[in-house]
Symmetry: D2
Subunit: 137 residues, 4 copies
């Protein structure tokens, strides 16, 4: 487990997230993690995605891993907990765990490997010192 | 404007709702209305979709109309207001208006025409008296 | 029915289009029409969306109407037929019909009202003569 | 690399797959793999998902890993190649690679770990001999 701060975002399941199995569709869990990160970038780290874009920077997913434990269903609320696991030269690894609000049980967990890119050049970018500092809480 | 009660549901925009124009994707507005109706069926009318399904009934969209006024963007919160506009023999017409929470301005408005169906037969079903009563508030 | 040309695009149903009712999700029909228009702009009218963007122009949906006749299911292929119904000063009205390839039956039909906008100003734009000509086939 | 057969499915990018970065949205790659598997189950292995469901069986994702190499954009066509990597007692591991049709370059690759479940009990199910045989080509 990471020594960096863990943050939590509440994501209500929407009917359009449900698939033919009457569960939240697999690929939607990635979208829930993305939504949680956007929320936490702004609310918890104090640097919203917009602030990155204004500096000509953006984050892209290099790799991700997800393990499914239990389904979420219509009416459920997801609690998405994320934490920085490691800060590298050009990217960060973010661990996540998705819990079902009603019983606190783990729904899914895994990680995302994000690379910082310069939007103009489309190339990986060394993480600026102030960004590394913001993410080191 | 309908004489039936109007209810409101708050839907935060998620990053996966945003399209290449950096606005909420057109077809997602229908999904926001659907999410609002599911919420309001349970919370405001006291008869959740599950209660219909348990009685072998379901609602299907027969037709819909939507008018777009302004875009919603990442970080915005949609307020989805709906009201029954008319109750027919086999269905209901639901009016909606989507507002941007930050300024209260109208984002989109329109209506959905829903038909009640018997799930087993897949055929329109006369609206039972108790359902009509529930929707007449 | 329009006097302008009708074009057809084949769209295979994907598993992520299916919702809890085991049908193609309502709002996906709009996405099928959008996909058909993008295909037809390039393939049939000879002016792809990119060519509009390069001229600083884009199309936005002002209003849409859709009527559902029959469901599409997993394994089905949608045939999306569209035609310009009318060309106005700032926009075009596009009629569509979605058919199920296997039996040729109508799945849904309706129309989209698109407005041409100047991307920089975000304002409606008078349709240039050459664009009107391209769409008048 | 697996010693089992590799199969390929062609998936055209749709406009609703594109996100605010004007690339195919990350989570859509999982949906492309899912679409490819459904196609290949029917077309290449001769046992469509429906045939599993008729026997009271279904496949669920237990875990997945994906590595992103290059983006796909509007107008691109994805070639999704999959192969069984291993057949276990209750599941199969499927490797995939997504290529861009135009240049044959790798867009993404990874694997999915699927578990066979008994729909009625919602529990893992030992893979029947005939299913193992079908997947052993």
């Amino acid at each position: 487990m990471s020594s960096y701060s863990r943050f939590r975002t509440r994501i209500p399941v929407r009917p359009d997230d449900i698939d033919m199995n009457r569960h939240v569709h697999n690929s939607k869990y990635s979208d829930y993690v993305l939504a949680a990160r956007y929320d936490q970038m702004e609310r918890c780290y104090g640097m919203a995605m917009d602030a990155f874009l204004e500096r000509g920077l953006s984050w892209v997913v290099r790799a991700s891993y997800i393990e499914h434990k239990r389904p979420l269903r219509l009416g459920d609320i997801a609690e998405v907990e994320t934490a920085i696991a490691a800060i590298g030269k050009h990217g960060v690894k973010v661990e996540f765990e998705i819990l079902k609000e009603a019983d606190g049980k783990t729904v899914a967990k895994g990680w995302f490997d994000y690379t910082l890119v310069c939007v103009a050049k489309g190339r990986p970018q060394i993480i600026p010192g102030d960004v590394a500092a913001i993410y080191s809480i």
